[in-house]
Point group: C2
Chain length 204, copies 2
Amino acid sequence: MENKRRTPIQERARATVEVLLEATAQILVELGYARLSTNRVARRAGVSVGTLYQYFPNKDALVEALAHRVSEGQAEVIITQLQQTHDQSLEVAIRGLIQGIIASKRVEPELAAALASEVPRNGRLDLEQATLRRVCDVASAALRRRSDIRPVDPELASFALVHSIFAVIQRALQARPELIDDDDLGEILAEMCIRYLSPDPGGS
Amino acid sequence: MENKRRTPIQERARATVEVLLEATAQILVELGYARLSTNRVARRAGVSVGTLYQYFPNKDALVEALAHRVSEGQAEVIITQLQQTHDQSLEVAIRGLIQGIIASKRVEPELAAALASEVPRNGRLDLEQATLRRVCDVASAALRRRSDIRPVDPELASFALVHSIFAVIQRALQARPELIDDDDLGEILAEMCIRYLSPDPGGS
DNA sequence: TCTAAATATGAGTTGTCGCTCGGTTCTGTG
DNA sequence: CACAGAACCGAGCGACAACTCATATTTAGA
């Protein structure tokens, strides 16, 4: 599962890889995955096809590298936000998580949207899958550390909550962006999570 | 946005369309969207390409027709389930909705999975989008009719809840099918929704 | 039975795709 | 400054894609 191709050592080679990924991103946004071809990427990057194949064994490796990078960025935004909340109240922490997920979609929004909606989600290429896995792990750990919530299975609960938030925001951005700007949906999601996690009044 | 092609009138023509859609479904499941070609579909259907183009203007029309049919089926399963719950308790109704959504994924599960994960979500082709729109409308109406819940915006609430349930189940089936079989996740989702909708104790 | 419309055929046109390979140009190092 | 290896080039190959059209077959119904 490793690179079958040359790894860049000189500086100019690293620059070439960079310009190839940038071209891939542009074409993905402008023309979509279906019209993304290695020839087109190379032309847009101002580089020859041969050069492209020095560093990427095929078209999907290119997209995978891009998706991986974006996924890392998204996960980092969310996880950073999440980790700042470990000593805050549940309400604040949940709202932080939700804002973090919204923020993660605002980094290179067009690219993220194109990757999420155009690219087939065949295992390796699945952007959301990769991001969500990391976020769920961190959220699960955060849940485990909390004492102000009722007893729940942290792994399952974070799976459900994180995926819910992610999907609702994803779909809303696609179909009803105004709901995100007004923060109406954010508020609903927050209530949903908080009510799910809050201890029952009068429970032991 | 209508058919640019011939509409079948004779019985054998309807059968041809049927066999073409069936072949499309098989190829989608076996080889994926990327390797689906009109020539391949025609060959598999035992029909010539020319015939295919009598009824479908292009490859995506074929997939769109298939997606539309599956989406109708899924929506019907869910909505039927939902409408049977209008006189039941909130708990029962919510569990019914969740079981309905799980059941909807169990009708032609491989085809549904292939459509959901392989096919690009460009507007018209988006299976989930179409299904969810209809389900949200019905769920929203069902919420409006209820008097045993706290006051919420029915449209927004159903958007959030339906999309949450759908996405969590979708992802779980893809990544952790055992969670669905054991119904652990279903229980969490149910609690999540019920807690969100239940009236606050002591509220007016 | 005859015929016009409906249906089916599939070789062929036109294009693009992914990818290779023989060769040239750069660049750090002895 | 020589030279080895890194980096780059791009015409071109074979495969396969979407889609057409001149032709053939089947059907309904008068």
